[in-house]
Amino acid sequence: MNSVFAAVLARDLRLAARRRIESLLPVAFFLVAISLFPLGVGPEPQTLRQIAPGIVWVCALLAAMLSVNTLYAGDLADGSLEQMLLAPGSALQLVWAKAAAHWLVSGLPLIVAAPVIGLLFDLSSPALATLVVGLLLGTPILSLLGSLGAALTLGLRSGGMLLILIVLPLATPTLIFGAGAVDAVGSGLSASGHHSLLGALLIASALGVPWATAAALRISTE
């Protein structure tokens, strides 16, 4: 029953482990992109502290969107995607496994790198903790939404740009609550409301988005 999920997840993780440098690109992009902001905005610690959550979230969003592109592309190219869709067992599990693999490879490293960001932007430790919890709840949503975009734009010429255009509007609530949580802590409020909403979004998208992604895969490969 869960064998499809486990098999696809293990396979994708093994593939990622064999292409180590490629798997590290999202987190490298994330760190480089974030480091550019102080150069553009100026080194004023107060300003940086204020804009840090927004920057972290926007860069996490872009890192997810730029890396999710290849989620189904390789499997489409060598024909294994069609085989997996034809195979017994539900396409939903395939989609869940793919999104989970994407999150483990490109979402989790961002969270691991978050303390470095805290250092760069002089974040207080409560703010940093809030940011990490928010990222833990929010980056899986980005992986799920990104996999929907990847399935819709599968095999298209301008896939990468198109995917970003399609997914960014859908990802605005995640961005708002993720960055808002840190802002709330910064102004002495509790972040639990924001985190609850992020959790609700995560549950809703974990249950809803894979259906849409599976349908999109069927549309794109038929």
Partner: protein, 258 residues
């Protein structure tokens, strides 16, 4: 189908599906489009005349408020058309109804146009009343995101060469988007209140004079008529393009039709 498409609607009883056949739709809208345009022109003339000459000057905003007669109908249309587009796209996908998909594709540019118009007139209205073209108010921001949703739909459907896949992928995106619209609206609203941004509220405005309301309703119906006319015209073009291999289209072309 060998019957002459133009007489076909009279030849059989009218059902829900009568006009879902492209030739009959084409013939029907050929009659309806001029009517819609005439209605649009008449209603616009009446609405603008009422709005600009009959409706009283607003007590707080002066003459500036008169942009409301374009702004509010455009904003209503932008939201409504997205739902209508998602509805027809969904019908086209679920029941494999070709015409419904074509209508959905034809609605998208008009919806995007109304969204842009609402934003643009809003900016022009905001400048004299709020002192700025743009604030990150909840309504403005969600309208902007609505524009992005329209652009995403148009970009996706245009990027896919295979018509069937483009229709279905577009339908899926439109449905996901319409499910997301309330979430986006409320998240933006809460974001705005949490940020203590510009405290601009139109809901507390004083009650509207009845002539203002009449003018606004006239303009709304004018926008409806315009949307019908343009969407029908665009759908007719899509029908001709997609059905170019069909016999009735060649007959139409050979007859030097309208």
């Amino acid at each position: 189908m060998t019957a002459d498409p133009r007489s076909a609607p009279h030849a059989m009883p009218l059902t829900l599906y009568t006009f879902s056949s492209p030739p009959r739709f084409y013939a029907l809208t050929g009659v309806l489009v001029p009517v819609c345009w005439a209605l649009c022109v008449a209603l616009t003339a009446a609405g603008l005349w009422m709005g600009f000459f009959v409706a009283p000057t607003d007590a707080t905003q002066g003459e500036v408020y008169r942009i409301i007669f374009i702004h509010v109908p455009a904003a209503w249309m932008s939201m409504l058309l997205y739902l209508v587009m998602a509805f027809w796209a969904g019908i086209g996908w679920a029941f494999n109804a070709r015409l419904a998909s074509m209508v959905a594709r034809a609605i998208a540019p008009t919806g995007a146009m109304f969204t842009f118009l609402a934003l643009w007139t809003g900016a022009l209205w905001g400048r004299p009343t709020w002192g700025t073209y743009w604030v990150w108010d909840a309504r403005l921001t969600s309208e902007l995101i609505l524009l992005f949703l329209y652009l995403g739909y148009i970009a996706l459907t245009e990027a896919i060469d295979d018509v069937r896949r483009a229709d279905q992928a577009g339908a899926l995106l439109a449905i996901v988007g319409s499910v997301n619209i309330p979430i986006i609206y409320f998240s933006v609203k809460w974001w705005n209140t949490l940020h203590q941004g510009a405290t601009v509220s139109l809901t507390a405005a004083p009650k509207m004079a009845s002539t203002m309301l009449t003018a606004m309703l006239l303009m709304t119906f004018a926008c409806w008529a315009y949307a019908f006319a343009v969407v029908f015209t665009r759908t007719r073009a899509v029908v001709l393009e997609r059905e170019r291999g069909a016999a009735w289209v060649s007959e139409l072309a050979a007859g030097g039709a309208r």
